[in-house]
Amino acid sequence: MLNIPCPWCGLRSEVEFSSGGESEVIRPLDPLKKSDHEWSDYLFNRTNKKGWHVERWYHIHGCRKWFHIERNTITHEIRSSWPITEKHPEGNLSVSYSDREQ
């Protein structure tokens, strides 16, 4: 059972959340210019990392806000969480809506 640190509510039980999958999936701003392969890569392909994994969660039975966490998919350890619109606190991960291609 995971205890997930919501940036707003603190440490809460996993049952209050729903998983939103990998943070690195970012919708292209110009879908019409993408080939079928590029579009299906965005829609379906995932890095599915073994080890440290940056992912989105939704506090659906709590504050109902989205956020990112960094979780180890082998040990289930969670080492950081931050709001959905912000960059990773240490700045070494470029997964945020503000990083969308312009």
Binding site: S40, N45, T75
Partner: protein
């Protein structure tokens, strides 16, 4: 290979069963083979077996990072059925069920196939409509399936709770009488022994560390037991498919998630079918040892840890008690998780990859055990000829770019 037979069993019993040879050799890996299969689960072993049997290719190695029967093949709920909605899936799983029906004879290994019938429950009027539609679709594909009334279900499972006061009352269901269970370890061991007998090297404790590629083909694999080259390669590694694909330089539409199951303490025989309910989410059967085998849902997050969250088990237990209040004091003996490779459309990927001599068979998700022989059969055809088998062609990796998904989320019978 010493044939297993009643006479042989009797003769060996006279010296205390000390004279049995090992079921398969433990060879050291050679530096190169015609074909290397990565993944010594049921699907990988079946692939190697059918490559040797149907295509006469014997210079094959099967690499397994752990031991035979230690992965998902030994960690499932052993259910076999072919009652799938869409034509593509129905034909593939039916091939597998037909191969299962003859497998004990063919492998000379008792896989303990028990075609006791698989029942799916419906708990609402709309579910009854869906069940009727599915049964019709399945029968049009020539596969046995029947609609059941609540009374018929009660006569098959006397302990079931049919009360209309249930939160999710039972309005009916469907049955595939040819469905059932088999012993999962025996399927792995039987295929391993038969493949070994045809000259295939099964190499355990051999993990692939890196994949060496050039000019669009795989040259060799660096493993914990040395470098192994081959003309063709097959990856059949379920939950670790994305990890291996990344080493080979391509991406897959797969998420690896834990799927949990458990067994109870042994009870006297009282439950002789397989029962599944998608609404209250449980699937269960009673093993020959008397344990109830109960399957839960997947955890909704990615994991490679072979364990899941207790909340999933609690949901499954409350579902079981809804159906069988008589089980309220039943004790759990063992529980486990396995890492399943789930595709966006809940259908497998079988076929060619961006690398010309590399083939992949993965994405079986929560229902791979029932497909073991069929999966090996069509994948062997793919590797031997370079072209997908007719039945496997719709399951190619490029179906995602083409938008030709085969949505079987519903046909998993329980929604994972």
């Amino acid at each position: 290979m010493t044939r297993y037979s009643a006479l042989n069993l009797f003769q060996k019993s006279r010296d205390g069963h000390k004279g049995w040879p090992e079921a398969w050799r433990k060879p050291a890996p050679k530096s190169s083979y015609d074909i290397v299969i990565v993944g010594g689960g049921g699907h990988g072993l079946a692939t190697a077996y059918y490559l040797a049997k149907n295509y006469g290719i014997n210079n094959i190695a099967v690499l397994e990072k752990g031991w035979i029967g230690g992965g998902n093949t030994g960690r499932n709920t052993t259910i076999i059925r072919s009652n799938y909605l869409w034509n593509e899936s129905a034909h593939l799983y039916e091939l597998s069920l037909k191969l299962y029906e003859k497998l004990s004879q063919e492998l000379n290994f008792n896989i303990m196939l028990s075609q006791r019938g698989v029942i799916n429950l419906a708990h609402s009027q709309s579910e009854m409509h869906e069940v009727t539609r599915r049964v019709s679709a399945i029968r049009l594909n020539g596969i046995d399936s029947e609609v059941l009334t609540p009374d018929q279900i009660k006569s098959l499972i006397p302990i079931i709770n049919l009360s209309s006061k249930s939160r999710y009352p039972i309005l009916g269901g469907s049955i595939q009488r040819r469905g059932g269970v088999a012993r999962h370890d025996a399927v792995a061991w039987g295929f391993a022994r038969a493949a070994d007998n045809l000259g295939i090297d099964i190499i355990e404790n051999c993990e692939v560390l890196s994949v060496s590629t050039s000019n669009g083909i795989v040259r060799s694999l660096e493993t914990t037991r040395g470098c192994i080259g081959a003309k063709k390669f097959g990856f059949v590694v379920s939950g670790h498919s994305s990890v291996l694909a990344e080493k080979a330089g391509f991406r897959l539409p797969i998420c690896s998630q834990p799927l949990q199951a458990l067994v109870s303490e042994p009870l006297k025989p009282f439950f002789d079918v397989v029962l599944m309910s998608g609404t209250v989410h449980v699937y269960l059967s009673q093993s020959d040892k008397g344990e109830l085998v109960l399957g839960a849902g997947t955890d909704k997050y990615n994991s490679y840890s072979q364990r899941g969250s207790l909340s999933v088990i609690e949901e499954m237990m409350s579902a079981s008690l809804e159906l069988f209040p008589i089980l309220s004091r039943l004790k759990v003996m063992r529980m486990w998780g396995r890492i399943v490779d789930i595709c966006p459309d809940a259908s497998p990927i079988i076929g060619n990859t961006p690398l010309r001599n590399l083939y992949i068979n993965c994405g079986w998700g929560t229902g791979g055990f029932k497909a073991t022989p069929g999966s090996g059969y069509v994948f062997a055809h793919n590797i031997a000829t370079g072209e997908p088998h007719n039945l496997a062609a719709p399951f190619s990796l490029d179906r995602f770019a083409k938008g030709k998904l085969i949505d079987e989320h519903g046909a998993a019978a329980v929604a994972h």
